[in-house]
Symmetry: D2
Subunit: 278 residues, 4 copies
């Protein structure tokens, strides 16, 4: 359905990874190699952090990313130490800015690739599980935004991985009540500007692809003359739906049912298991 990438590290121009790489996100919008759909032309979004005290910024548009001139300008103008970029292939919900990722709540950004099966049938029960105090903030009509507000309801801002596990558990619980099998398929990214949390999970354990960068220090040694690599610092970290360049040793697949947390150069990986709040 969609493609996304998240970057944390030294501040770089967004275009370094959004436009300039050989198999950049823009290239993926026209012909993805690993996605369930080859064209991701139903809008896009970027979310980024600027000064430490500032709330994150959003630029979202319903244009296909490949022909949006403002995106090209923005990707050149913006330097950021942490950002998410997302290109959308709509399933059934309308193409409108409020359905474009990333979604934002206070300091948190959230992006998703995948789907909730039979979302239309489950939507009401899912929305009822959202904290009433958050309900009024829902602006769009996607399963992804509902997932974000469920995660916020279950404590995303305090314990992000546990909250995502409760979100997944709640979705599967509601789906079971409606007789929907294998309801959840997701790679998601959530960040507060400090940590990047990425999860690969699906009910049927056949999740969409998700990769992370390996050590850029190691890559600098391996490929000392590659300008695509030299702009990026040694502590940088990328999580993304598809590799950007075909460099051996540059990417590593994230296993099924796994959460990765990147925080100031430290990367931790843990098993991800949906849980039902008791």
């Amino acid at each position: 359905m969609c493609r996304w990438l998240a970057y944390t590290g030294n501040p770089i121009q967004l275009e370094t990874v959004v436009f300039r790489a050989k198999h950049s996100l823009i290239d993926q919008s026209l012909h993805s190699r690993m996605g369930a759909t080859t064209t991701n032309g139903d809008g896009f979004g970027i979310g980024w952090y600027g000064q430490p005290h500032e709330a994150p910024f959003l630029y979202r548009s319903v244009s296909p990313a490949w022909h949006d001139r403002n995106l090209r300008e923005a990707a050149r103008a913006i330097r950021s130490p942490l950002f998410i970029a997302h290109i959308r292939a709509a399933t059934e919900t309308p193409v409108q800015e409020t359905n474009c990722h990333p979604f934002r709540h206070n300091r948190w950004l959230f992006a998703h690739n995948g789907l909730i099966r039979d979302f239309h049938a489950l939507r009401r029960d899912l929305m009822l599980s959202i904290d009433p105090a958050l309900f009024g903030a829902i602006e769009g009509s996607t399963d992804s935004e509902v997932m974000f507000y469920l995660a916020l309801t279950y404590g995303l801002e305090q314990q992000p991985v546990a909250a995502l596990e409760r979100m997944a558990g709640r979705i599967e619980q509601i789906a079971a009540g409606h007789g929907v099998e294998n309801p959840l398929n997701m790679t998601v990214c959530a960040t507060d500007g400090e940590q990047v949390v990425a999860v690969r999970y699906s009910s049927e354990h056949q999740s969409r692809t998700l990769f992370h960068s390996t050590s850029f220090k190691h890559l600098h040694e391996l490929y000392p003359h590659d300008p695509r690599i030299s702009a990026v610092g040694e502590d940088a970290f990328l999580v993304l739906s598809e590799p950007l360049v075909d460099l051996h040793d540059a990417w590593e697949a994230i296993p099924e049912s796994t959460a990765v947390v990147a925080r100031r150069g430290s990367i931790t990986q843990q098993a991800f298991a949906p849980r039902v709040r008791s």
Copy 2:
């Protein structure tokens, strides 16, 4: 907030009333004289009926009506015996097609001018009152669409005026529970292609303006040489937020707390009173 008009009568080109009149809907989009806001530039929509057996058609866009070239073409291309046109001035909700009026469900169209006060606070309870079977069809985020689905829940397709009264009653009931005073202000139009139902109502009895055309037969006699009038048949009927032309005798204000029903040349008017379903 918004401006709308509904027409039923002999098939006419939409441009007759949307573009050509002296104080046409397009003119109102740039400088309304009676609206709460002077500029209605946050999208527009037209909904129209074609052949008797066909579901109604929609053209909705986020562009300001005054500069949308496709609207100009459509208004010239489309001839219809019954249509609604609406121009939007957004209050707090996003400018997106799914928030543009009219809304459609099966054969029904619905348009609204006004607001539900403190909608963000009431939204969850209002949405919970919608028939779960209809819930999945909600696409936008406006108070107006929620009003439509509430009316459908309360029987709009069977007894439209009574359903709108129950809708209003339910909104006021929920608002009372949240301590919101004078929650509802509306002029609304609902139609199934056979009848046009228009209501002017507000909790504080200070509703936005609403007018209907007087007898076109009478007007043909009074103004035999006015081409703006001669295109429209004797049985035609218009309901609208603001008069289109400054012809004496052409328009009559609809009183507060009143419902008007037009069906094949017969016009009936009745008191409108919110009711709470018991």
Copy 3:
């Protein structure tokens, strides 16, 4: 590059060929099989004729055709005896409505797939060749629109095939002066609502594909139970970039350097050769 189709025959709903066919134009917008690019997501347009006395109508948009809801409505609402539909893959010029096909002048519509090589270098000289009385009407920045106005300058409204030959000749002449080889590659369609003129030509004789329908009478006999065929009358005629369905006998390739003219059931085919006006 682009994809287009033109229909003339009994009035049909546009959706019959734009949406419903197995390999419809919408399907081609996501993954063309024969185009120079697989994705045609940089806007679209439809132009159609209504009543005999009316000028043709346009609906053009920068959205990808596959997710434009208004197009879906329009294709259902519009019945027409003659129309053009076009989906765009922009080469270098901006994605904007004025660059979407078809272009219109008085009763004529014009659509193009292909390109003028080194258009930026040739543009000024090409525009200088346009009749000064037409110059002010140019709204966009594509090579295609310049081709249309050149054809109008050379008599499109009187002798369409000859005018298109002069247009091609002039383009090749100007290109030669700039040292540009093989400047022109085109399939074009021009119509005044009476006749449909389609040309397949390129300077290097390696033109993009172009097909026309064979006899629908024959097809009705061959496939009596195929609903995709039965809606279309026996005299109907389609010209198009790619076949809509994989029916044997339904389509015939138009040869290189050929013009086809369809007028009230009569189809003529002739050699096409650029000519320089002396």
Copy 4:
């Protein structure tokens, strides 16, 4: 027609003057007090300079400025020492990004309020006066963009005021040949990131309004507690169509037929007279 402002001084967030002032540019887009039209809802643009070595950036959109969420984000995200913001009220030319101001060529930005009378009739001759090497870069269809390319043709990058005088002279010369009286009405702004050049001129000497800020040092003393003023440094300079706030002493009208040049805190003012290149 349009409204614009240009800022040079200490780096500030764009929102300081675009959104936050009492009579901000956004407010002017909904109801201008001094413009020829009250609504400026036909697109907008911002152009800004970042690091000294970088080419300027553009964000242009056809949305009305007042409801564009991305503009609100951008105005918060961007800090710049020199920028132009423009809101458009289209006269006859299409609403599309390539017709939105500012226009850009290399390091130069250009914005305009006003019009060339009978532009459609003069357009061809005006375009022929543009340097053929620049011709291919014209993307839109406005008189304003043609003015920019004429100014570039006449040396804007070397001697900006003289080039603008030659541009004005050439327009009046061509108009005279076509019998068009009082052809030019303009306030324009041109900048290369170092200097801001602003001109108020019209053939009939009844130009649209143009103001500049007076000394911010003086204003800091006069209004020490006004946060709208304290964010802006003492050397800052604003040129703009309408005052942003109703502070006495804050704004000064630029006289008819005058050019103002601001460069690193030094402001010079000189008479502006069209000249015909001999």
